[in-house]
């Protein structure tokens, strides 16, 4: 025994941190140019670019809204989460 070894790497993704969110970022697919700036800065690894558009993983997005503030074309808005 050398200590705690975790072989199932990245297994923390079972934590659904999306429940933290008070504001939800919403991508306007007509405006999104798929540049990936939001993905690059997302602290939660919760954005993928699929077919040239940003897709948000709401299971894990904590709603910090960095994506909204860095988007160069203003394609991301925010909505208050329903209680």
């Amino acid at each position: 025994m050398v200590g705690g070894i975790i072989k199932d790497v990245g297994n923390i993704s079972s934590n659904k941190t999306g429940s933290w969110r008070t504001f939800r970022p919403v991508v306007d697919k007509n405006k999104c140019i798929g540049c990936g700036t939001c993905k690059m800065f997302c602290p939660d690894v919760a954005i993928e670019i699929v077919d040239g558009k940003a897709i948000i993983d709401y299971d894990h997005c904590k709603g910090c809204l960095i994506c909204k503030s860095v988007c160069p074309v203003g394609a991301i808005s925010s909505e208050e989460e329903a209680k």
Binding site: V9, G10, N11, S13, S14, P43, V45, D57, V70
Partner: protein, 295 residues
């Protein structure tokens, strides 16, 4: 969703600049890496045993000894014929205060390691206590601004210069607001043998008191105002990577609760410090002198 190096689901605060920086560093290094992580936010939020966010070899060590463990890991790896990038990573507390002795020892012995300091300028994990990375006049829970003191009374420790003085062949500063610059520096560090150090600026929404959406804004603003110079020192030669516009420092302080007590006099003192520091940096760059001290 996840990247090649970390997965989502970690419990770093919304808008955390530190996990953003750690991911950028790991993505620039690639899969052939062994991470030695000092205690701090990036340990407690990423790896509540038996879960982990990391998808690369990663070992948690204490606050004190990330650089010592990395020293042993790299020597073992090389003896076994490996060529992994051995990364010692920790915050300002783990590298500039508590783990400083281990860091100094590793730099002096000359191990082939990369040290990254994810600097959020206080002990955020334990409740925003001041560290040697806390800037002058920032309010923390142990340097509370009020009638007695206007926040921390000392200037921030210049850890990059201390690393240069150890004879480290590559030392650089970086900010999460400039990911391409950071990635280029990580890749350059990878290509150089011996101890390398990158001092990385990672804003903290909770500890600094700003909205979680503004992390990148402040990471850029610190550079644009000249408060966080982006430079590198390769084999003792200093090169400034980005000449800032020198926007007024108030633009950076505005909106951060830790600075809300600042008076025009205190701001003027900081502004002068920025100017003096830049004059010195530019002089050193122009002179092309070797900054590495002779032992």
């Amino acid at each position: 969703m996840s990247s090649e190096v970390i997965s989502s689901g970690h419990s770093a605060c919304a808008g955390c600049g530190e996990i953003m920086g750690e991911r950028m560093v790991l993505e620039a290094i690639g899969k052939d890496v062994i991470v030695c992580q000092a205690t701090g936010c990036m340990e407690v939020t990423t790896t509540p045993y038996p879960k982990t966010t990391f998808k690369v070899p990663w070992v948690h060590v204490t606050f004190e000894n990330a650089a010592s463990v990395a020293s042993g890991v790299v020597e073992a790896d090389r003896k076994l014929g490996g060529d992994a990038t051995v990364l010692a990573i920790g915050g300002d507390g783990g590298m500039m205060d508590i783990g400083f002795r281990a860091l100094s020892g590793a730099l002096e012995r000359g191990h082939d390691i990369l040290v990254v300091i994810t600097d959020n300028e206080a002990y955020m994990n334990t409740g925003i206590q001041r560290s040697s990375g806390t800037p002058k006049y920032a309010s923390t829970t142990t340097t509370p601004a009020g009638k007695v003191i206007p926040g921390k009374l000392q200037w921030k420790k210049n850890i990059a210069r201390i690393a240069v003085a150890h004879g480290a062949p590559y030392v650089a500063t970086a900010s999460v607001g400039f990911p391409q610059d950071l990635a280029a520096k990580v890749k350059k560090a990878k290509s150089i043998r011996g101890p390398k150090l990158i001092h990385l600026f990672t804003p903290c929404p909770v500890g600094w008191g700003f909205d979680s959406s503004k992390t990148v804004y402040y990471a850029k603003k610190a550079v644009e105002t000249g408060l966080w110079p982006l430079y590198e020192v390769e084999h003792g030669k200093l090169k400034i990577d980005q000449k800032p516009s020198f926007a007024p420092v108030e633009e950076y302080f505005k909106g951060q609760k830790r600075y809300k007590h600042l008076t025009p006099e205190l701001i003027a003192e900081i502004e002068k410090h920025v100017k003096d520091r830049w004059a010195e940096l530019e002089k050193q760059e122009a002179a092309g002198i070797n900054l590495q001290l002779l032992p």
